[in-house]
């Protein structure tokens, strides 16, 4: 790839302003034919925004897009599609109640005599599946397919439109390590066929594995380029975060005590009424971190909701500190169970965006002395409490009276953690505790979780990030289709072994 060749895609001086946020600032990006460009950056770095501009979903505030050496105006996705740009979105853009065929042809339908020619499209899908190793049944409904297969449908959608440039936005977030390898194989095939790919991720290992060239974004700006042959993970991490980072969490060996949380044959239904947990049994002991690993959507959300009293338990028992807490109210679970909950969706369950930081910090005990007296709220103790917590937990804010929604994601999460960690507890349920926040905040929250463990708290950690599970856990349980398919000690766990379990392959079975 000589630098003199005309790039297939060029973004020049792209700036994008959202109200109060500079999402992209003067970004320059070039993509050559037949190369895989990795775009690396933390959550919120502006990667998706840049791709949405290239794909015509957002209008840039300033800047130009060039395709094959000519400037173009991306009016909407239709323009991008016509120019041979295809995108697999971070959140899949598929209609769940429709078939694979209908989804693939949507917007670019084959028509015979005025009617949809579904057979021709299905045949084309089979042909593409074969050619690129993207196995999928054209007649299946999207809602019946696992996330990994839905991703194949998204890629097929782009290939069906003869995309020459393929944008993959965080495609590995929903995959097991083995599925990610499968995706990389597909990407290599595509590259051989002359396809150009922009691959977005925040995972360093993947970048070094597959990319021809790396571009790093931070805070909406390009902070550097790197060659995967000569860079290390440490260097990339430093570029991504802006300072040296610890890639591991400092923690001593666990000293587990008596069981604090015991689940016995827990059965729970999903929102759709289908079984979400099919008899989950596990124990978390004082002073240990039990990590629950698994591909998103295998029952993790329901597990946490069942334990914290947010979802009805249909069978089995939840026992905390020896007391039966099955279907107890959340308040009883919080107080009698002496538990805390860092919920996976902080906006829906963890905080009230329009309340002040001070009020958010007492949501779990505002009705008790000293924060309440009779039916009135005591503002002074609440403010004092807030000032202390903001200080200890490094929540960066000009004012505790500011509405919490105005904080950055990392500081919002630190606020939630501050509230949940500020009571004497014996059990901590942390669901996706560092999803979507900056590395600095991740490090801080990880240290806090380990500190709780060392105080003798039992910690149940649920995370979709295998690296986080590996870094923090003392034991690791893998959940698959609502069952705990295996529990391993951290010392015996490997990424490959966990990956197999996450894909539903039981140890000892040969399939």
């Amino acid at each position: 790839m000589s630098n003199s060749a005309t790039p297939v895609l060029e973004a020049r001086n792209i700036t994008k302003l959202f109200p109060g946020v500079v999402a992209n600032e003067d970004i320059h990006l070039t993509l050559q034919k037949g190369e895989i460009l990795a775009l690396l950056g933390e959550n919120g770095a502006g990667k998706s925004t840049l791709m949405h501009i290239i794909f015509g979903l957002y209008r840039p505030t300033r800047g130009e897009i060039w395709v094959n050496g000519a400037p173009v105006v991306m009016k909407n996705p239709r323009t991008a599609l016509q120019l041979g740009i295809g995108m697999v979105h971070q959140h899949f853009q598929l209609v769940p109640v429709m078939s694979v065929t209908d989804n693939v042809m949507l917007g670019d339908e084959r028509v015979k005599g005025g009617f949809l020619d579904r057979d021709a499209v299905a045949a084309r899908i089979r042909e593409l599946s074969q050619k690129y190793g993207l196995e999928v049944d054209p007649d299946a409904l999207i809602e019946d397919l696992p996330l990994g297969v839905r991703q194949r449908v998204e890629i097929l959608k782009a290939l069906y439109r003869n995309a020459q440039i393929l944008i993959l936005d965080e495609p590995t977030a929903v995959l097991t390590p083995q599925e990610a390898e499968g995706l990389f194989a597909v990407m290599e095939t595509l590259r051989r066929q002359g396809e150009s790919i922009i691959f977005i991720t925040h995972k360093l290992k993947e970048v070094l594995r597959i990319a021809d060239r790396i571009m790093v974004l931070r805070g909406g700006r390009v902070v550097g380029h790197a060659d995967p042959q000569t860079t290390t993970q440490q260097q990339l991490a430093a570029m991504m975060v802006g300072r040296e980072v610890l890639l591991t969490v400092d923690k001593g060996p666990a000293d587990p005590g008596e069981p604090v949380l015991e689940l016995d044959g827990l059965r729970v239904a999903s929102d759709l009424g289908t079984p979400a947990l099919r008899g989950v049994s596990l124990q978390v002991r004082a002073g240990e971190i039990l990590g629950v690993a698994g591909v998103q959507g295998n029952g993790q959300t329901e597990l946490v909701e069942a334990i914290t009293g947010l979802r009805r338990v249909e069978g089995g028992r939840v026992v905390m500190n020896g007391t039966d807490m099955t279907n107890a109210s959340p308040r009883r679970i919080t107080h009698e169970g002496r538990s805390s909950h860092v919920p996976e969706d902080r906006h829906a369950y963890g905080m009230v965006d329009v309340y002040s930081i001070a009020d958010n910090l007492v949501l779990n005990q505002y009705y008790r002395a000293p924060f309440a007296s009779g039916i009135t709220i005591q503002t002074e103790p609440i403010a004092e409490h807030a000032r202390a917590l903001v200080d200890t937990f490094d929540v960066r804010t000009p004012d505790i009276a500011m509405h919490a929604g105005g904080l950055s994601g990392g500081n919002q999460q630190k606020m939630v953690v501050a509230r949940e960690f500020s009571r004497p507890i014996r059990l901590l349920i942390a669901a996706q505790p560092t999803r979507g926040i900056d590395v600095g905040s991740i490090e801080f929250i990880h240290q806090q979780i380990v500190a709780k463990r060392d105080e003798g708290v039992a910690v149940l950690l649920v995370s979709a990030e295998l690296d986080e599970i590996m870094a923090l856990s003392d034991r690791i349980a893998v959940i698959y289709k609502g069952e705990i398919i295996g529990i391993v000690n951290r010392a015996d766990a490997t990424r490959e072994g966990l990956g197999l379990l996450m894909a539903g392959v039981r140890p000892g079975s040969h399939e």
Binding site: P77, Q93, V95, G114
Partner: protein, 349 residues
């Protein structure tokens, strides 16, 4: 699972219909017809009444399907229907001196136009001004009721209405010919539209795109579909169908206009749409069921059945509607994105 329940439901429905047809033939062709109760349930006049009562419900439900399948909630069908009825009446009375057919067709066209305008109004409220769609629908109902009552000239009389057209050959079939193939034109049109809209929704480009907009508008946007344009278009088309339902009431069923003459049919149509799971044939079946209960009410009163007070007999259609909708609401699945405003940053122009 859902699919299976649906399939079983439709098998049961088909079985019941077959049984019903068999009974009808027996009652009308054999001495079984001498039984008074059987006559109430299965006479040709009951079936004719059923169809007549169902047509506005079918058209109204189709209106709802077009709007909601693209993502626009429409509880204003009642208002659109009333506006169509009033417009048809005004058009008819002002062209009384034209040849009857021309005048009637003119009435239909004006009903379509006014219904379409009501649809446009609803879409503009909902899309352009992001008004809550329930409120916008309510506005349409109040607007149509108010304006039609205010402008209604109580002395005006429409002369003539659509008469039955017997389809040669088919209308000779005993019983069935009388019920199905000897009807006025708008009735045929309504039944035809059920087929057309079903095929349109599930086998054409327009239908695929429309349904995508109602289920997952962003997915439609990312493949280059102009979501809001399609929503405008289908809401206008839906409005035209509701207008046609109003036109049917004035030009084919009653022959005149009365204040508030739609009498809740728009809401029953909405119930038929839900009961029919947002499917044209499902909605038609539901509409026929509701129409049949109205026919029963009518036959019971005509036959002078006194063992049940007439007020209770009059309740039947509404009771059945309520029970049907309550029983089925948990089992049907509305379009996922209905009622949600879709904001496109990319150029929609």
């Amino acid at each position: 699972m859902m699919q299976r329940t649906l399939r079983i439901t439709s098998y049961v429905a088909i079985l019941l219909v077959l049984l019903f047809v068999l009974m009808t033939l027996l009652v009308n062709l054999t001495p079984l017809g001498e039984n008074r109760w059987l006559r109430i349930f299965f006479s040709v006049s009951a079936l004719n009444f059923t169809l007549r009562a169902s047509v506005p419900l079918i058209l109204g439900a189709l209106c709802g399907i077009l709007c909601e399948r693209t993502g626009i909630v429409n509880i204003g069908i009642e208002g659109m229907m009333l506006a169509g009825a009033f417009a048809a009446f005004v058009a008819k009375t002002s062209t009384n001196d034209w040849p009857l057919t021309a005048s009637l067709i003119f009435g239909v066209l004006v009903a379509l136009l006014v219904g379409g305008l009501m649809g446009l109004l609803h879409a503009t409220f909902a899309i352009r001004y992001r008004m809550d769609q329930i409120i916008s629908g309510t506005v349409l109902i109040i607007l149509a009721g108010g304006i039609s009552a205010y402008l209604f000239d109580r002395d005006a009389v429409a002369q003539g209405k659509f008469g039955a057209i017997a389809i040669p050959g088919l209308s000779q079939i005993p019983v069935l010919g009388e019920v199905l193939f000897t009807n006025p034109p708008l009735t045929y049109l309504a039944l035809l539209l059920v087929v057309v809209i079903h095929v349109g929704l599930f086998s054409t480009r327009w239908g695929l795109r429309s349904r995508a907009c109602g289920e997952h508008p962003r997915a439609a946007d990312t493949v280059g579909i102009n979501v809001n344009r399609l929503r405008y278009m289908n809401t206008v088309l839906g409005g035209m169908l509701a207008g046609l339902a109003g036109g049917f009431l004035v030009l084919e069923a009653v022959g005149q206009f009365q204040e508030g003459m739609t009498a809740g049919r728009g809401f029953i149509a909405l119930a038929a749409m839900i009961f029919g799971n947002w499917m044209p044939f499902g909605a038609m079946s539901a509409a026929l069921l509701f129409g049949y209960t109205q026919a029963l009410q009518n036959e019971l009163l005509l036959a002078g059945v006194t063992s049940v007070p007439r007020q209770f007999v009059s309740m039947i259609p509404y009771l059945v509607t309520i029970i049907a909708v309550c029983g089925f609401v948990g089992r049907v699945r509305p379009p996922a994105a209905e009622g949600q405003v879709y904001e496109q940053e990319s150029g929609s122009e």
